[in-house]
Amino acid sequence: MFIKQLSVFVENKQGALSEIISLLSNSGVNMRAVSIADTQDFGILRIIVNDIDLAVDTLKKHNVIVRANNVIGVELADKPGSLARVLELLTSGGVNVEYMYAFVTPGNADAAYLVLRASHNEKAEKILADNNFKMLSEDDIKNM
């Protein structure tokens, strides 16, 4: 099971990030988690949103380069050692993590959520599911 992540190309110049976020907020898109990866020249904004189709449409209409791509959303117990366990499992399964970020919600104070993109997404997903981790679905994201 995967969730959709909104990936946005952001040029490294003043106001570029703010412009994209404004477009999303004006169209009523709500964000669950945000992360940005940057290089000297450009960045990739990665967002988990409540309505991926609306977010993609809004940005495309404004000529922004976006992609909705599959990532793994996994629920962890919000306590020391949870993340370490996930990474150990993936490493021993021969999967590399391309990037990841985490978020929490007020609705479930005991849980933390990890968004993860692996070198082999399917394999990573299977490893975690086989080890009884709760995988997030698109519906989970909408209903958070």
Partner: protein
């Protein structure tokens, strides 16, 4: 092995070709000095007499002819024969300025036919074939030029002229065209239209295409060869010199053989006007050796290209020229290296990147820097930095190998490159501001 239309000259030795060129150059210079006032003035100014020109080794002594000269003497100031000997007029469209008019004697038309026939034969066309001419017929040299070649070769020409794509396709199917001649962009369009109309081009007898009159790329060639199921040949020409057929491609498809018995090609350094070695880029300059009505001496085309004297596997010995790689007016000199925006465009096209790009030239200390900014596209974008960085590195590598100097490659947002009147400003040179 290719067939030749005029094997004696097409496979002559270098010595034979140069001897013929020298004899013809001496006569051509004498003729223009006598008949064309502007040439007499220019040569007198330069202190060159016709008798100073004893062979091609003296070519460099002669003054250049520019497009502006043709405009200044419009319409008939550079004709070298009285109008009663002129059999036909053609004109260039004048997209970059006032139109110019050129003339042909009957003998000029016969030679034009011969050099086009060399192309037809090199493309495997014989007397038995039907050549579908979809170039425009009229003042433009394309249509009637190919027709002239078909007539000399003795094959059947189908003068469809340009436009009306549905009719072109019907004729192609009903008249059973064996070869087609048109602009490469129209050939692309015909291929797409045939596919849309559900025409299986592999069932048609069409097997060769002769395309020219505008810049095109190897990618376009592949596309046309696939969609029309033919082999596509590149023909070079310019109205000022003759029209299509100044240079022609053989089945090797590795450069166009210049018809050196009728034209001399020079590749000159744009700064020093000295010839550059084989393979190096420079301005293409042509001299007409046999033209009677409109003979140009050292005509500066403002096109950039290269030549090679390397032996061609087809057996032809005429020097081969590259496709024109750009216009001299667009040339940038970066760290002493000549760089043309068209070279960068080719790389972007090969990598399937956006055609919207900008070249930023700057000077850091004493060193010139060049950065190519390309708009990001959906096809190239990825959610991982490593994928995008890989594209940037590949672009930088390819630019380095094509340009001969290191260039930085950067992706920028879609639509971020400033456009004026719909066209992006290609070059920002910041060196003068320092």
């Amino acid at each position: 092995m290719s067939n030749y239309y005029q094997p004696d000259i097409e496979t002559a030795s270098r010595e034979e070709i140069e001897k013929l060129q020298s004899e013809r150059l001496v006569k051509a210079v004498k003729r223009v000095y006598e008949k064309v006032p502007i040439y007499r003035e220019r040569m007198d100014e330069a202190g060159v007499k016709p008798e100073d020109i004893k062979g091609i080794e003296d070519l460099y002594k002669l003054p250049f002819t520019s497009k502006q000269d043709l405009r200044d003497t419009y319409p008939y100031g550079m004709f070298a024969v009285p109008m009663e000997e002129v059999a036909r007029l053609h004109a260039s469209s004048g997209t970059t300025g006032k139109q110019i008019v050129v003339g042909y004697t009957q003998n000029d038309l016969d030679i034009w036919g011969d050099i086009v026939a060399r192309q037809l034969v090199a493309a495997g066309i014989t007397k038995k074939d039907k050549v579908h001419v979809a170039y425009g017929y009229g003042l433009f040299t394309g249509g009637l030029g190919i027709a002239e070649g078909s007539r000399r070769l003795g094959c059947t020409s189908i003068p469809v002229s340009s436009g009306n794509t549905a009719r072109q396709l019907t004729i192609m199917q009903d008249f059973l065209s064996d070869a087609i001649a048109c602009t490469p962009s129209y050939a692309m369009y015909l291929g797409e239209s045939a596919a849309k109309a559900g025409i299986d081009t592999s069932k048609l007898p069409l097997r060769a295409g002769i395309f020219g009159a505008e810049p095109w790329t190897e990618e376009m060639r592949k596309e046309i060869e696939k969609s029309l199921n033919i082999k596509a040949y590149d023909i070079y020409g310019l109205t000022e010199i003759m029209g299509p057929g100044v240079a022609y491609e053989c089945s090797e498809q590795r450069g166009m053989h210049v018809n050196e018995d009728h034209f001399i090609i020079e590749i000159l350094d744009p700064e020093t006007h000295k010839p550059v070695p084989d393979g190096e880029k420079g301005e293409i300059v042509f001299t007409c050796l046999t033209k009677e009505a409109f003979p140009l001496i050292r005509f500066r085309t403002k096109d950039i290209g290269t030549v090679t004297h390397e032996k061609c596997a087809c057996g032809r010995t005429f020097v081969r020229m590259s496709k024109p790689m750009g216009r001299i007016d667009d040339m940038l000199i970066i760290r002493g290296v000549n760089v043309f925006p068209s070279q960068i465009e080719t790389v972007l096209l090969q990598m399937n990147l956006s055609p919207n790009y900008q070249i930023i030239v700057d000077r850091k200390g004493v060193l010139d820097t060049i950065e190519v900014q390309v708009e990001m596209t959906e096809d190239t974008f990825s959610d991982t930095i490593s994928d995008i960085s890989r594209y940037e590195r590949e672009l930088a590598d390819r630019l380095k190998s094509v340009l001969g100097i290191a260039a930085k490659a950067t992706f920028v947002s879609a639509g971020s490159i400033a456009r004026s009147e719909g066209k992006a400003k290609r070059v920002i040179d910041r060196r003068n501001l320092v």
